[in-house]
């Protein structure tokens, strides 16, 4: 029984030979194939750009969440300082949720990074093979009779066709990954919008408001104390004067 290696090779060759069987005029086949190769090269370049865009989006979200972590840590301290352990607990709970989100994002950025590297490697391979194919194609057209050309075309086309299949697979996998991540990001956005999830990155959360209240009420308390002290001092002054 054939193993994994030869099975994969068989599938690619079957696809290629069906394609070549349909060809009639060798010169035309060469030009057509070359045109398709250039299209695929554009596809792989676009694939790299798409992965980079997705990665930037995730990195942006990562940055926001990291700021949020620092803020929540500060808020927990502030709440604890004010003797509000309940609020401090809320802040720390949210901090741990944000940390989990961050770990998920890190993994996704790494995955995209890997896809990007593969696409770039694939682009390099494809690009070099296209260049080689282009020069061979001119030689074949200029120097060989139709029958001989057919054989040579078969060789060159099989080699480059295999690369095209491989690059096509790399593009497809990168696209799947990018789509999965976009779907996930969109789902999170939706949950935030519907209020199911708290929006970690919005400027004002319930916790922010409570802490703001806390600090304004402690400010008011402090001011009251200061005024009382002033008034008290004034009273004492009056008493002394009398």
């Amino acid at each position: 029984m054939a193993g994994l290696m030869s099975r994969a090779s068989t599938v690619v060759r079957a696809k290629l030979s069906r394609l070549l069987d349909r060809a009639e005029d060798p010169g035309e086949t060469l030009d057509y194939s070359y045109e398709k190769q250039l299209q695929l090269l554009q596809d792989v370049k676009r694939g790299v750009a798409d992965v980079v865009t997705s990665k930037k989006r995730l990195q942006l979200q990562t940055g926001k969440l990291e700021q949020e972590l620092v803020k929540l840590e500060g808020q927990a301290r502030q709440a604890l300082g004010a003797g509000r352990e309940d609020l401090a607990r809320q802040a720390l709970e949210r901090k741990s949720a944000v940390q989990q989100q961050l770990q998920g994002l890190d993994r996704q950025v790494q995955e995209l990074e890997a896809q990007q590297e593969r696409l770039i490697a694939s682009e390099r391979q494809l690009s070099a093979k296209i260049e080689a194919f282009r020069s061979q194609k001119e030689v074949i057209k200029a120097q060989y009779s139709a029958a001989e050309a057919q054989v040579r075309i078969g060789e060159a086309a099989t080699g480059i066709g295999e690369q095209m299949a491989d690059t096509g697979l790399a593009i497809q996998r990168a696209r799947d990954k990018t789509e999965q991540m976009q779907a996930r990001a969109a789902a999170v956005d939706e949950l935030v919008a519907s209020g199911t999830l708290e929006d970690f990155t919005s400027d004002q959360t319930q916790l922010d408001r409570e802490l703001a209240q806390l600090s304004s009420s402690s400010q008011v308390d402090a001011e009251l104390e200061r005024m009382k002290a002033e008034l008290g001092a004034g009273e004492q002054q009056k008493e002394l004067e009398q």
Binding site: L4, M5, A8, S9, A121, L169
Partner: protein, 96 residues
């Protein structure tokens, strides 16, 4: 023979290496058939390592077709299975 590490590059391997690869390949297939992804990935990783360490990297502009293709280990069982069906993982080449 020439082997392609899918998503990487093509390498020329000698007969000794070819025999080792074929043994691992058989084990990888058995692992696939008993749905043992971890074992399959392990065999594939070993095949990749062997080829990278002892194979000779073909220049990118070489137009020789490969005699065998070695799938990457980060495919799921389902994806690996699909790799071998004609309307599976490998996209159709552009036709007329």
């Amino acid at each position: 023979m020439i082997v392609r590490l899918m998503g990487d590059a093509q390498y020329r391997v000698d007969d000794g290496l070819r025999d080792e690869l074929q043994q691992l390949d058989e084990q990888a297939l058995e692992a696939l058939e008993r749905e043992d992804e971890e074992a399959m990935d392990g065999y594939l990783d070993r095949m990749w390592t062997l080829v990278k360490e002892r194979g000779e990297l073909l220049p990118a502009e070489d137009l020789h077709p490969s005699d065998a293709l070695i799938p990457p280990s980060d495919l799921s069982l389902e994806e690996t299975r699909k790799l071998f069906s004609e309307d599976g993982l490998i996209p159709d080449l552009p036709g007329r």
